[in-house]
Amino acid sequence: MFFQEPTPDTSGYMIAGYMIAFIVMGLYVLSLYLRNRNLRQDMAMLEEMENSTAKAQAISERQKGPKKPVGRKSAGTVTKRTKKK
């Protein structure tokens, strides 16, 4: 018992080890959370863009309307011009 060497104080290394383990795990969980949040934001933005593109297409198609005969349309414009004169 008298010849036994005292247990060395290595608690500083132990604390450093556990701190690093928790920091690395914490950073990974944080990165998962941030990537998830950013992807959800991207998803929402892309869905909005997709909807607005679809709406714009629908409006432009509605504005075109049913095709009228070319002759009648051109005649109308001529009369308007003549009235202006």
């Binding site: 036994q4 247990t7 060395p8 104080d9 290595t10 608690s11 290394y13 132990m14 450093a16 080890g17 556990y18 690093i20 383990a21 690395v24 795990m25 990974y28 969980v29 998962l32 990537r35 998830n36 992807l39 959800r40 991207d42 998803m43 892309l46 869905e47 863009m49 997709e50 593109t53």
Partner: protein, 232 residues
């Protein structure tokens, strides 16, 4: 995107609770090792993270084989998730080992077979993500990734058996002994409790993070598909 399943939320809470208990067992419950002192306590987390990381790398190799057979991108997502979580765990393993080595071996690092194979394994999987970053086509990326992960998977058993096959100073604490190992110790019953609980805890944490990472991967794929749809 579907909301987070209740089972996953429960698993998140269980993982955090288990981590708390494992930390208590390692730092308070387990007795102090007489020769090395408190630094021996990093051993519980060192082995716990190493076990799950190597298991994850082997799992990824299995997913690679399944992907190469089925060509289903679902298996690619699983492979990436397994490798990413394992990479983080293995980084912790190496860091803890290095910290333990400083007072016990009197050096932060030595090119011992176990340490060398561990460092190579970590670098192989860092390079895996660099390879994937460089390929835009999802099918090509998955195919290259699968072949790479399959070959890289060989490094996991080599790392595990390095202390049993080569002359090394790394101690063999479980199932075997290494006469040249510096820092060997025999576990008391209380140490065994802390040790096996840490193994169980890190397995559960791995499953939890793996599941979360798979969900992130499927969200990434959806965003990529939607981007293509909008730009076309």
């Amino acid at each position: 995107m579907q909301p987070k399943p209740v089972a996953l939320k429960v698993l998140d809470i269980i993982s955090i609770s288990l981590l708390g208990i494992a930390t208590y067992l390692a730092l308070v419950f387990a007795p102090t090792e007489l020769v090395m002192g408190d630094v021996q306590r990093v051993f519980y987390f060192h082995i716990g993270t190493a076990w799950t990381a190597l298991l994850g790398f082997i799992l990824a190799a299995v997913f690679s084989v399944i992907y190469l057979i089925t060509k289903d991108l679902k298996w690619d997502r699983l492979q990436v998730a397994a490798i990413e979580v394992s990479l983080v765990f293995f980084l912790i393993t190496i860091a803890l080992g290095s910290i333990w080595a400083r007072p016990v071996w009197n050096t932060w690092w030595t090119w011992d077979p176990r340490l060398t194979t561990a460092a190579i394994t970590e670098l192989i999987y860092i390079a895996y993500f660099m390879l994937r970053q460089g390929i835009d086509d999802p099918d090509r990326r998955a195919r290259f990734g699968a072949v790479y992960a399959l070959i890289g998977g060989l490094s996991a058993p080599i790392t595990f058996f390095a202390i049993r096959l080569f002359r090394t100073i790394h101690p063999v604490v479980i199932s075997g002994s290494n006469p040249e190992g510096q820092g060997s110790f025999s576990m008391t019953p209380d140490m065994r409790v802390a040790f096996f609980f840490a193994l169980f805890t890190f397995t559960v944490i791995f499953i939890d993070l793996f599941w979360n990472r798979i969900r992130l991967g499927s969200l990434q794929d959806k965003v990529e598909q939607l981007k293509l749809k909008v730009t076309m």
